[in-house]
């Protein structure tokens, strides 16, 4: 196991622990920059991964670090997307200004939702954000002048300072830049007093309050920061899908974001990115599996006889072609993760690292969680 021997306060302030870690991240960056040439066929999916990464980051700050679970983040994404498209295409503002305005507007919406939400705790907040998202979705449907209602509205490709980002590769670098920027900003914010206050609120509101953390201020701040990031993601998302319609920003999309942070691992920025990779690439994997799995199962079962093989092929083929299957698979994954790996992919990664660094001495009990017994907060 490697211990970092700290000799000055400068070492506490650096973004990365030591030069080894920094070099690994540099290597990762080089790899990411080379990705468009390695997988040109999957560029569209990679762009989605990056945008989802921003979304995951946004929800991670709120759910993973401040402990406020929101089921309405699709609405913030929608507000960001529609605001950006409105500013660029109807008002005619420059791209950068439109993005900044959309982000600011979404952050303001976050304050609007966040401030009444301060009086609620736990599941009430979740329900309130859910209700907010449903109301906003109806607004998207009805506000014809800006959103063009159910007809939907097409989105042009981004043009920044006269440079067109129409190709997938160019758009990839744009999204990558925003994601790295978002990660850098969030990482620094989390190391600062703001982030520590958020974590304190997550772990115990009452303890945080008695240590002098102003709950109202910090919760609202978390809400608006999270919403702002979502708005930024929304602006990029609008260009990514190229066509906005109100029914995209539904409850299922919000659930998908929550799936992202849970699967990735609550309470870690790595988790947000892992979750984004998982959620964005799963549909790709599923759609490929749709074509190949029935054939495999047919081949395996045909050991029993060719008739059984064909029958099995037909049954599985009909099953996987059902349109309702995909949300079910998402739900199943969510359930399995919560039951068996509550720390998510990042938790698994940490366990793996600890296993190898302490090789013969690894104890499972290191990550065992204490059993808790529920006690009511109600008086009656």
């Amino acid at each position: 196991m490697r211990f970092i021997f700290k000799t000055s306060y400068e070492q506490d302030l650096t973004l990365f622990g030591d030069s080894v870690q920094r070099n690994w991240y540099a290597a990762l960056l080089v790899g990411l920059l080379g990705l468009p040439w390695l997988f040109p066929a999957y560029l569209a999916d990679l762009n989605l991964v990056l945008i989802y990464g921003l979304c995951g980051l946004s929800l991670m700050v709120l759910a993973g670090y401040t402990g406020l679970v929101s089921l309405g983040h699709a609405a913030f994404l929608g507000i960001g997307a529609y605001a950006h498209v409105y500013f660029v295409q109807d008002v005619g503002l420059p791209w950068i200004v439109a993005v900044a305005l959309a982000t600011a507007l979404t952050a303001a919406a976050g304050v609007l939702v966040g401030s009444p939400a301060l009086r609620m705790t736990g599941v009430y907040l979740t329900i309130a954000t859910l209700a907010f998202a449903l109301v906003i979705q109806e607004v998207f449907t009805r506000w014809d002048r800006v959103t063009h209602g159910l007809k939907g509205r097409p989105v042009d490709k981004p043009v920044i300072f006269g440079v067109s980002f129409a190709t997938d590769a160019a758009f990839y670098f744009l999204c990558l830049g925003f994601l790295i920027g978002g990660l850098w900003l969030t990482r620094n914010l989390l190391r600062a007093p703001t982030g520590r206050a958020w974590v304190a609120i997550r772990d115990s509101e009452i303890a945080a309050q008695s240590m002098g953390v102003n709950l109202a201020v910090y919760k609202t701040m978390a809400f608006s920061y999270s919403a702002g990031l979502m708005g930024l993601a929304g602006a990029l998302f609008a260009h990514k899908i190229g066509f906005l319609a109100p029914d995209i920003f539904g409850v299922l999309f919000s659930i998908q974001f929550l799936l992202m942070v849970v699967v990735g691992g609550l309470g870690s920025l790595h988790g947000a990115v892992f979750g984004a990779v998982f959620v964005a690439l799963l549909p790709v994997v599923i759609s490929q599996a749709r074509d190949s799995v029935p054939a495999w199962i047919g081949a395996v079962v045909s050991v029993l006889g060719s008739g059984a093989g064909t029958a099995a092929f037909r049954t599985t083929d009909r099953l996987v072609k059902q349109p309702g299957l995909e949300p079910g698979i998402f739900g199943l994954i969510l359930v399995l993760f919560i039951l068996f790996e509550p720390l998510g992919i990042y938790g698994r990664w940490v366990k793996l690292k600890v296993y190898f660094s302490t090789f013969p001495l690894y104890k499972r009990a290191t990550f065992k969680r204490q059993r808790a017994y529920m006690r009511s907060e109600r008086l009656r």
């Binding site: 009444p116 736990g122 009430y124 329900i127 449907t141 059902q322 739900g331 359930v335």
Partner: protein, 283 residues
């Protein structure tokens, strides 16, 4: 008007399911609407595909979904007992998605109508014509609420459930089988959801989106105050009436979101609802 009352009763019934589980386990079941959908589909299947009588199918559907609820608790939800609320919220959302997917694979995405003995029959009460479908909903809700209220207040098991909800460890020391209580409450809540589903089926239509009624029932449960049985019913009725009135008097589009607007308003002004009790966490 009666229309609103009947729809309100359905919201109340689904909200009742939320309240029961919240009362006993301090968790919120986001899959309640989906359980309702499963109940409606099971009843439909028994009546139309297998040709059972309505009442037999009704009882069988309620029993089946109730058993399913108990099994769900024993297999899945018991494992997350004592973990943060968030885990349970996510778990039930995931379960809801699985149920919806299961329903759309098993029964397809067509829309069905459930034939009942009440269909297309009316009674005149004091000058207003009341269709039997609505009457069945209202009577069913009132009876169910009364039974459940009595159960929680007067029976030993009901009181034991309340004890288990307030302090699991202490209840366990007092000799209450806490795990069994959990399964039982899930069975009851799932059964109530199934009843709501079967009662709603003739009025609304049976399809895989039936579960979204659950979202509106949230508004009812919050309005009444989570954890109060009469509150759920009153909340449900209020939401039903508000929806009806906003459909009549407000511009188009308000009908669909009225419930949520009320919900937001209630949460902002009086988060504990009409009948709830405010609590402060002890450290």
């Amino acid at each position: 008007m009666l229309n609103g009352v009947a729809v309100g009763c359905i919201y109340g019934l689904v909200a009742l399911g939320f309240v029961l589980i919240y009362k006993a386990m301090e968790l919120v079941n986001f899959a309640q609407g989906e359980l309702m959908m499963l109940g409606a589909f099971t009843c439909y299947m028994l009546v139309v595909w297998y040709g059972f009588g309505y009442w037999v199918a009704f009882a069988a559907a309620v029993a089946a979904v109730g058993l399913f609820g108990a099994a769900l608790d024993a297999v899945v939800l018991r494992r997350v007992l004592g973990q943060p609320q968030f885990a349970v919220v996510m778990l039930t959302i995931g379960l809801g998605a699985i149920f919806r997917s299961f329903a759309s694979i098993t029964w397809g995405s067509e829309i069905y109508t459930l034939p009942t003995p009440f269909s297309a029959r009316t009674t005149r009460i004091g000058g207003i014509t009341v269709s039997h479908e609505y009457l069945s909903i209202i009577v069913g809700t009132i009876v169910l609420c009364a039974v459940l209220y009595a159960f929680f207040t007067y029976t030993k098991v009901g009181v034991a459930m309340q004890a288990a909800s307030q302090n699991q460890l202490a209840a366990y020391y007092m000799g209450i089988p806490v795990k069994l209580m959990g399964s039982l409450i899930w069975a009851i809540a799932a059964g109530v959801a199934a009843i709501a589903g079967v009662l709603l089926a003739p009025v609304s239509l049976v399809d895989t989106n039936l579960g979204f009624v659950g979202l509106k029932a949230f508004a009812a449960a919050v309005l009444g105050g989570f954890g109060s049985i009469p509150g759920a019913l009153v909340g449900g009725l209020t939401i039903g009436l508000i929806e009806l009135l906003s459909g009549t008097y407000l511009p188009q589009g308000f009908k669909d979101v009225a419930a949520y607007l009320v919900l937001l308003l209630v949460l902002a002004i009086r988060p504990q609802g009409m009948f709830g009790t405010a609590g402060r966490k002890k450290v």
